[in-house]
């Protein structure tokens, strides 16, 4: 109708929002959950939380306590809580370098691996939405169709390609990981962004053309600013994916200098599987960044999730 819709984030996600709507009123409307239902939900919620909680509590217990008594005993000895495990694990050498270095490796891997594919995919999504060229529609179908190719199929040939000496990226594990993540993110990111950018009002694009804007201007001055909600959702999505990734980092990282923190944690499991004081603290260092991002930006994350799977 008017200019409002794109102002809100509605274009891609439609009416779906992740909030409690009308908890009161409309008594008849819902298939009311009843007491049993509520109890089931809370039991499940508890079950779902206990494992993580146990790990968190353990990570602050003295080594001896972790190894001899269950974490639920910690509440009787709150005074024993210590951060020693954290300082110990941060300085522990994994593959010859300190664990803390892996944390920074993950940071260095993740930020470009989120930004690069989104920028490239946004350009492509704009072209698929608003530029006219022959074969546009089937090309888009092919791109989206590539979502079915499992990463596993691409690892070895891509690795061989990267190691071609004239490319000069064979030694640079970060670059290889960035490119690999960008590639694997491409089909879904283009798909989601095309859904959003293609849903921007046509008349606004035309108005810009009549005003004399080129494609590049329209993209930079209109499409990108208007797509911020979608970019944020997809960015968080990609962030969680890359930070949690083990396979790509392991395959393309090469030596320990370029490995992500997930790899370090798995190595600790392999070599010191019973040193729970290291494992619990190490795992929590690994998890803390995505947990904070996830909890603080859950709204956007959910929106991205729904854009991909719910009608709207």
């Amino acid at each position: 109708m008017s200019t409002v819709p794109i102002h809100a984030e509605d274009a891609a996600v439609g009416a779906v929002t992740f909030t409690d709507q009308t908890p009161l009123g409309t008594k008849l409307a819902r298939t009311a959950s009843g007491r049993v239902g509520r109890i089931v939900v809370w039991i499940l919620a508890l079950l779902w939380t206990v494992p993580t909680f146990g790990l968190l509590v353990s990570s602050f217990r003295p080594e001896k306590a972790i190894k001899t008594t269950g974490w639920w005993n910690a509440f009787g000895h709150l005074g024993d809580m210590t951060t020693k495990n954290y300082s110990q694990v941060l300085s522990t050498k994994v593959g010859g370098i300190p664990f803390s270095q892996y944390f920074w490796n993950s940071v260095k891997i993740t930020i470009p691996a989120v930004v690069i594919p989104i920028v490239i995919a946004a350009l492509a999504a704009y072209a698929f939405s608003w530029m006219h060229f022959k074969g546009r529609d089937w090309l888009f179908v092919v791109v989206v169709g590539l979502m079915v190719v499992p990463i596993q199929m691409c690892l070895i040939p891509l690795l061989k390609l990267f190691n071609l000496s004239w490319l000069h990226i064979g030694d640079n594990g970060f670059v290889k990981i960035w490119i690999a993540h960008a590639i694997f993110a491409m089909p879904l990111t283009i798909f989601l962004l095309k859904n959003f950018i293609g849903a921007l009002p046509r008349e606004v694009m035309e108005a810009a053309r009549v005003d004399g804007a080129s494609h590049l201007t329209i993209f930079a001055k209109l499409v990108l600013p208007l797509s911020v909600p979608a970019l944020a959702s997809i960015g968080i999505f990609q962030f969680l994916w890359v930070w949690s990734d083990l396979l790509v980092g392991k395959v393309f990282g090469g030596n320990a200098q370029n490995q992500p923190i997930t790899k370090a944690v798995v190595d600790v499991v392999g070599s010191r599987g019973n040193d729970w004081q290291l494992l619990t603290a190490g795992a929590f260092i690994m998890m803390i960044v995505p947990l904070v991002v996830f909890i603080s930006l859950q709204r956007y994350f959910v929106r991205g999730l729904l854009a991909g799977s719910v009608k709207g």
């Binding site: 109708m1 008017s2 200019t3 409002v4 794109i6 102002h7 009002p201 008349e203 606004v204 035309e206 108005a207 810009a208 053309r209 009549v210 005003d211 004399g212 804007a213 080129s214 201007t217 001055k221 209109l222 600013p225 208007l226």
Partner: protein, 399 residues
């Protein structure tokens, strides 16, 4: 100042559909031309071809005599107001208005000056820093106007710019736009499906059906002398009554037999329809507007009253006559299967008319229209009228 000329302008889609088979139209310098027609008649396609947003399949589009077919919209020096206003949601009102000038690298001081002028003209100076989402519908509409006029383009193109306003605001804005256009003197092409808008705003109105120009004339001419049944029924509300009749000869000259009664055209009719003498016995479409049935007139038409609507300024009387209705449809002319049809007469509101009574209506013969039942073309007119022979097929395309 500028003129816009379309020569055999065509639009064909890849699937073979011919949206515009070939349009000839000229808009004079400073003229306000309204393109009107039912939805799907191709009026927006024509506008978008002029804007450069739609490829032209054939023919020529000239601005000031120069062919612009292959130019992009940004090179044509036009400004457009969209139906949805198409404001840039991420920019303030001021930035919206300034956007085109910024792209053209206009000096900052000049931009600021022009934005200020336009904002004052359109009473937008208080909202320059707001985003479009915070504006009312009327304000948004004015921003869209402001964005167009700030550029002093050769041509204004407007695509149903009032359709998102509520009824009251629409009437007000209608007058505003017309006033503004006359003041600025910019050649304007305005597209609408609303014939009232077309009639009230345009210097000339072009009526389009399925991409074909039915008639292009001043509002008054369009109303009083429609070239064909389609224009006759499209323009005017309530629309013209059209029923099937047979041309007959009476003691007082020619007449039209409608069902069991005859409307005598008399000498006025004989002058109005010069060739009618040779048409005796032919079936025609007999058209008369409601207001030509309620006042004075030498003809007589009797109907059975079914409904009386009191509108304050007039009284609309609906009744039946014993003749099938005739209607212009998308592909030509359609006659109703029903032997009776509804006729509306507009009368003096102080008159009293009983429902279910039979009333005899005076028919103003000077405002009677006859149309060919096959082609829908108007039958022979007075000396000034252009349509004189219903059998000539290319009359349809005449502007």
């Amino acid at each position: 100042m500028s003129t816009l000329t379309m020569v055999n302008l065509q639009k064909r889609y890849a699937n073979g559909y011919e949206a515009v088979p070939g349009l000839d139209l000229e808009i004079k310098d400073g003229e306000f031309l309204v393109l009107v027609g039912p939805s799907g008649c191709g009026k927006s396609t024509v506008l978008r071809m002029v804007a450069g947003l739609e490829d032209i399949s054939g023919g020529d589009l000239l601005i000031d005599g120069a062919r612009v077919n292959d130019m992009g919209p940004q090179q044509r020096d036009i400004a457009m107001v969209f139906q949805s206003y198409a404001l840039y949601p991420n920019m303030t009102v001021g930035d919206n208005i300034a956007f085109a000038m910024k792209l053209r690298k206009t000096p900052k001081a000049e931009i600021a000056q022009k934005v200020k002028e336009v904002a004052e003209l359109l009473e937008l100076d208080k909202v320059l820093d707001r985003k479009p989402g915070q504006l009312s519908g009327g304000q948004r509409q004015r921003v869209a106007m402001g964005r167009a006029i700030v550029r002093h383009p050769k041509l204004f193109l407007m695509d149903e710019p009032l359709s998102n306003l509520d009824a009251k605001l629409r009437v007000h804005t209608r007058a505003e736009i017309a006033r503004l256009q006359r003041r600025l003197g910019v050649t304007t092409m305005y597209v609408t499906h609303d014939q009232v808008e077309a009639m009230t705003m345009g210097d000339r109105v072009a009526v389009l059906r399925r991409g074909v120009l039915m008639q292009c004339a001043s509002p008054q001419e369009l109303y009083e002398r429609p070239d064909n049944l389609f224009v006759a029924q499209f323009i005017g509300s309530p629309s013209m009554n059209v029923v099937r009749g047979t041309v007959v000869s009476t003691d007082h000259g020619p007449g039209v037999q409608i069902g069991d009664q005859t409307v005598e055209l008399g000498s006025v009719g004989a002058a109005r329809f010069p060739g009618i003498g040779e048409m005796i016995g032919r079936d025609v479409a007999f058209g008369v507007r409601p207001e030509a049935l309620g006042g004075d007139g030498s003809g007589r038409l009797t109907m059975q009253v079914e409904l009386v609507e009191m509108l304050g300024s007039e009284l609309l009387v609906h009744g039946t006559v014993n003749a099938p209705a005739v209607r212009a449809i998308d592909t030509g002319v359609e006659q109703s299967d029903k032997p009776t049809s509804m006729v509306i007469a507009s009368m003096d509101p102080r008159r009293k008319v009983e429902v279910f009574s039979t009333v005899e209506l005076p028919v103003d013969i000077d405002r009677v229209h006859l149309f060919d039942l096959d082609t829908g073309l108007a039958i022979g007119r007075d000396a000034a009228g252009r349509v004189t022979d219903s059998s000539s097929p290319n009359e349809l395309d005449k502007g």
